[in-house]
């Protein structure tokens, strides 16, 4: 039942927030997301004691086609649940003291989004998973459409259609597998153990499924919706997208690609891996010359997730664990970065780098915390991203030395664009836009302070995360290696 509670609490909270009215919505949302986080901690404790048995749920739902409420939590799912529920309260808190119209709807949508994404991470039935996958698109679409920037209509439409189109391909793939399954179900355990799908079929199935995830993550060249959407969405939308939603794509590579079409992965994995790593360098190089804060961060995120996805396709334990660790690290860091961007844009009214500068003179506390987040994202040792990047790059190295050299450029290029961004915004003399910059409020300090602590804690002692996911990743790796 634990699983159901975790899943449904945000849904309930969403409805309550909607009913509560604009005045109390934000505080209620924060309260429920904090409760959800506590519940998650409790779940983690149970999980470390009793394993995944208490979390498994199996109910018949629709008999023909056979779809069941098949949910569960293994190490990887739990990591994603922790990630979602850890980031969500921060996202909600980040919206405090911002003038948001129709706040009750806004927070209801955020919580609904949390619910849908949790559904993705705990579903072990293909169609159920697909329903949640699509369900998660709806709230973010409305968040971007109703609270976004000037070009929001065109941009969100493109984003919506793009990701939806990808998902439909995946659905086709799933339906085919359903027919191939002698029991005719979407059950993950059955689909990941099918032996009758020839590699000729897996070859095209790979692409149907992969493209859906590649768009969501995104992997170059399926990324052109991203920068626009990130910069047009309201901050919380961008955080949801970059912090949690794109991890749906990476998680799904683990869960719904590798074990499902292992022969397809064997055939096309190297190509996908190459795309990922090209994307790492490609996006970094673009980020170097960006003049807009949010777009710069969008491209930096694109670069980072390219490396995470690469870790999935190298098919070794270092790369895969690196990917898992880095999913959490990236979620924390990217939310921190976009929050810093939001703080700057909110106070100065511009995201144009060249109009900023010198903020450090007037906001020392903000400077320190922003610096820590930047250090996290350039993967300095003792920060969370270093663990991930080390494991990922070693995973890539184990696969191929030259690819690792190329991917390793990220540690140089990352420093180039991040320090450039930091220098232009924070250092030097103040401009007319930044002269009146107020230092952080209490809410803002709490969010960024929490993020800073998380950056160090998971960077100095990552062992619990590694131990949480290791057994699951081994199962997935073994399935993926059987062709």
């Amino acid at each position: 039942m634990m699983t159901i509670y975790i899943l449904l609490l945000p849904l309930l909270a969403s409805l309550i927030a909607l009913a509560a009215g604009n005045k109390f919505a934000s505080r209620l949302a924060l309260f429920f997301s904090a409760a959800e986080l506590l519940l998650t901690v409790y779940a983690y404790i149970i999980f470390t004691k009793e394993g995944y048995a208490p979390f498994a749920i199996q109910h018949a739902w629709i008999s023909s086609p056979s779809i069941s409420i098949n949910m569960g939590v293994d190490g990887l799912s739990l990591l994603m649940v922790i990630l979602t529920n850890l980031i969500s309260p921060l996202i909600i808190l980040s919206a405090f003291n911002r003038n948001i119209e129709n706040a009750s709807r806004y927070f209801a949508l955020i919580l609904f989004m949390q619910f849908a994404m949790l559904g993705v991470f705990i579903s072990f039935d293909g169609l159920l998973y697909y329903i949640f996958w699509e369900l998660a698109l709806i709230p973010i679409y409305f968040i971007a459409l109703n609270w976004g920037g000037k070009n929001r209509v065109a941009v969100t439409l493109k984003f919506f259609i793009y990701t939806l189109a990808g998902s439909l391909l995946m659905l086709v793939g799933f339906i085919y597998l359903y027919w191939k399954n002698p029991n005719h179900t979407f059950n993950w355990h059955e689909l990941s153990a099918l032996t009758n799908v020839c590699s000729c079929d897996q070859s095209w199935l790979f692409w149907l499924i992969f493209i859906a995830f590649a768009i969501k993550i995104p992997i170059v060249p399926f990324h052109t919706w991203q920068a626009d959407t990130y910069s047009e969405s309201p901050t919380q939308g961008t955080m949801l997208l970059s912090g949690i939603m794109l991890k749906m794509g990476i998680y799904s590579l683990f869960r719904w690609l590798l074990p499902i079409v292992p022969a397809g992965v064997a055939q096309w994995g190297p190509l996908a891996l190459t795309l990922c790593i090209i994307g790492v360098v490609y996006a970094s190089v673009i980020a170097i010359m960006q003049g807009d804060l949010k777009r710069l961060l969008a491209y930096s995120s694109l670069s980072h997730v390219g490396l995470i996805a690469a870790g999935v396709f190298v098919l070794n334990s270092s790369g895969m664990q690196g990917a898992a660790v880095q999913m959490l690290a990236h979620a924390i860091n990217v939310v921190g970065l976009f929050y810093c961007a939001d703080i700057i844009i909110n106070r100065t009214g511009t995201s144009n780098l060249y109009l900023l500068g010198g903020i450090r003179n007037v906001a020392p506390r903000f400077n320190t915390l922003f610096m820590i987040v930047v250090l996290g994202s350039v993967a300095l040792p003792l920060t969370n991203a270093f663990i991930g990047e080390f494991l990922l790059l070693f995973g890539v190295y184990t696969y191929n030395t030259w690819l690792a050299v190329f991917a390793g450029l990220t540690i140089i290029l990352g420093a180039v664009y991040m320090l450039r961004m930091f220098q232009i915004t924070m250092l030097g003399n103040t401009s007319e836009h930044t002269a009146q910059f107020n230092d952080l409020s209490i809410n803002e300090s709490i969010v960024l302070g929490t993020i800073a602590i998380l950056i160090f804690v998971t960077g100095i002692y990552p062992k619990p995360i590694i131990e949480l996911v290791q057994p699951t990743l081994e199962v997935i790796l073994n399935k993926a290696l059987i062709k």
Binding site: K158, I161, Y162, A165, W179, P221, H223, T224, W225, Y282, V285, I286, I288, M289, N316, S317, S318, Q321, G322, G358, R360, N361, L375, L380, P381, L382, I387, F390, L391, L393, F394, Y397, T398, A404, V405, G408, L409, I411, I412, A415, V416, L419, R420, Q423, M426, L427, G428, N429, Y461, P462, K463, I466, Q470
Partner: protein
């Protein structure tokens, strides 16, 4: 756990060594703004003093041959590989600890006075403590990954300190450049670690050395690994081609330069290679590469130093040059000699930088030696200490630099006479430009404005005491490494021998030079250096020559004065192409090709939709017909499959 077997009386102070600066950093970082300024400075200084006392305690109480190894916790693990977080203290670490904390403490002390007017006083000491903390981590780690924490950590601190005056964007650029250049080296280090981890299954120093020894000499795997590590070392220790950040690092406050150039940061690369001496000894090719790079760096930097007019720039290029000399020693397999020069260099380079700070302090920020002159009579302590420091770096007997430099040159003489000639030349150039600096700064009449002249003053005691201590060290420091060839005991080499001994079997062994040759070489070196000093004296004191104004330089002088245009070269072949590429990627590939393809796909779909919509014409008969056809098709598919 072997910890329990070890004497806790040693483990506890060992753990305190990095803990003191960490606490100092945290206290000043968090509560610094609520504390009086002076307190924060003293707090930071005392933290380093505490570390120094602990290090000295270990030095006095550790038995020969018994290292301290402390495994703290498991840090990163996957598959069968576990990388721990732990400390190792052996003679090599001890030497580094004493240098870092000892000289670090003097620099802290000096800074209390030097920085007292700066509004970022507390911030300065916070960074300084953090810098020392990471440097201690670097030398105390018991595996390469812990070393790498310190390695990147000092990179960060140098970034923060070089760009300390963050309102000035030129300084910020220098800081960024230092970080990025170091990162280029770090990538090499990282890849080197991957090779070790993959082929040896561990990053622990002893395991790596043992496994590597099994592969034997001249194994290409080890060659690649060591070359990659050397790339890392050349970033941190400012060797060609990654040296250009170090002269720019002058942007930071002068005590920072002393810290970076003497006690921390640049010594890291040398430390790393000495730490991996077995690995490097197994690869003669790498040693050859190191030797060549060291020679080139040493000479090139010395030549550039000849025509610099900023007092700190001259010293900066002399550091690059001296580091080149140290790398030459490493390249010849003389690991202990390289370390010896690290230590003596730390004494006199810290002295020279702090001395230059005292000069700059006296002149209210003036750094151009063309505007100085005659300071000897105003700032006596600074003058005498600086003078002795210059004698030491020039290799004049019996100052510290003489012994360590002589040792390296003697190795060079045995290795290859050409190497010896080049390195000797480079040393002589050093002697010349150092005294060019001394004479232009301290002799003749003051050339600056009257206004500045009125205010020239000697620095306060807090600044001069460290100068005096460092001067004493620069005078006597060399005696811990008396030449063995002349029948003396080399205390330094003996102390370190436990660390360097395992690599001996793989290195070319030379006979000791005959006494006559060795003494002959020494006399030659000293006489030649002295004649350089005399030449500089004639030129700048007697003839009162002044370096020409920058605009009037032509030909070779102009090229040298502009540092061979290396920065411009890098700018043109790396920086500019990347910016062009960046625009190209965004405009051409992202916007034009990919997005066009995406939109085209969408257009095709929507056009198809418009066409297919015509089928939905409301004719029920047609729908039924279509449905039947569809069912037949589906049935056929089921049958066929």
């Amino acid at each position: 756990m072997n910890n329990l077997l070890q004497d806790t009386a040693l483990i506890f102070p060992a753990l305190l060594i990095p803990l003191f600066p960490l606490i100092g950093f945290m206290v000043n970082g968090v509560f610094g703004k609520y504390l009086p300024k002076q307190i924060t400075g003293w707090l930071a200084s005392l933290a380093i003093l505490g570390s120094f006392i602990c290090a000295a305690y270990l030095f006095l109480n550790m038995n020969k041959g018994s290292n301290i190894n402390i495994d703290m916790f498991e840090w990163i693990s996957f598959a069968h590989i576990q990388i721990g977080f732990g400390f190792l203290i052996d003679p090599l670490t001890l030497i580094m600890l004493l240098v870092i904390t000892g000289i670090g403490f003097l620099i802290h002390l000096y800074s209390i006075s030097y920085m007292h007017e700066d509004e970022g006083f507390t911030r300065f000491f916070t960074y300084l403590n953090m810098f020392v903390f990471f440097m201690l981590l670097l030398v105390m780690g018991n595996n390469y990954l812990v070393m790498f924490i310190g390695w990147e950590g000092v990179g960060l601190c140098s970034y923060l300190l070089i760009g300390f005056w963050f309102k000035n964007n030129a300084y910020n650029n220098a800081a960024k450049k230092a970080f990025i250049m170091n990162r280029i080296g770090d990538l090499g280090f990282l890849l080197g670690m991957f090779f070790m981890l993959f082929y040896f299954g561990s990053l622990n120093y002893d395991v790596v050395a043992n496994e590597a020894a099994k592969l034997g000499i001249n194994n290409s795997l080890i060659t690649i690994t060591t070359i990659l590590l050397f790339v890392g070392a050349s970033g941190k220790s400012a060797q060609i081609p990654l040296y250009t950040w170090l002269p720019d690092a002058m942007a930071g406050p002068t005590p920072v330069s002393a810290l970076i150039h003497a006690a921390t940061m640049v010594t890291a690369g040398i430390y790393m290679i000495v730490r991996s001496n077995v690995l490097f000894a197994l690869s003669p090719i790498t040693l050859e590469v190191i030797l060549i790079v060291g020679i080139l760096t040493s000479v090139m930097a010395a030549i550039i130093g000849l025509l610099q007019n900023d007092i700190k720039k001259v010293l900066a290029y002399s550091t690059v040059s001296q580091l080149g000399l140290m790398f030459c020693a490493l390249g010849m397999g003389a690991f202990s000699s390289g370390m010896f020069h690290v230590v003596t260099h730390a004494f006199f380079k810290a002295l020279l930088f702090l001395g230059s700070g005292s000069v700059i302090h006296a002149l209210h920020g003036e750094q151009d030696i063309r505007n100085m002159g005659g300071l000897a009579k105003y700032t006596k302590v600074t003058f005498y200490t600086f003078f002795i420091g210059s004698l030491a770096i020039s290799g004049i007997f019996p100052f510290a630099g003489f012994f360590s430099k002589d040792e390296i040159l003697a190795h060079a003489f045995q290795e290859n006479i050409v190497v010896w000639i080049i390195l000797t030349t480079s040393s002589l150039i050093t002697a010349f430009y150092m005294f060019r600096l001394v004479y232009l700064t301290f002799f003749n009449e003051f050339r600056g404005t009257e206004d500045v002249k009125k205010h020239i003053h000697e620095s306060p005691a807090l600044m001069t005491i460290p100068l005096v201590v460092l001067t004493i060290l620069s005078v006597i420091g060399g005696f811990m490494g008396l030449p063995e060839g002349l029948g003396f005991t080399h205390a330094f080499g003996n102390f370190l021998s436990e660390v360097t001994a395992p690599s001996l079997p793989y290195l070319k062994q030379h006979q000791h030079l005959s006494h006559a040759t060795e003494i002959g070489l020494m006399i030659f070196a000293v006489v030649a250096a002295l004649s350089m000093i005399v030449w500089a004296r004639i030129k700048y004191v007697k003839n009162k020559e002044l370096p020409a104004a920058d605009e009037s330089l032509t030909g070779l002088n102009k090229i040298i004065s502009n540092k061979f245009y290396v920065d411009e070269f890098y700018n043109n072949i790396i920086v500019k192409p990347i910016t062009v590429l960046s625009d190209l990627f965004l405009v051409l590939i992202d916007k034009l090709i990919i997005d066009l393809a995406v939109n085209a796909t969408a257009w095709v779909v929507s056009a198809t939709g418009k066409t297919l919509r015509l089928l939905q014409n409301g004719n029920t008969g047609f729908y039924v017909f279509a449905m039947v056809i569809g069912m037949i098709v589906l049935l056929l598919i089921r049958v066929i499959l």
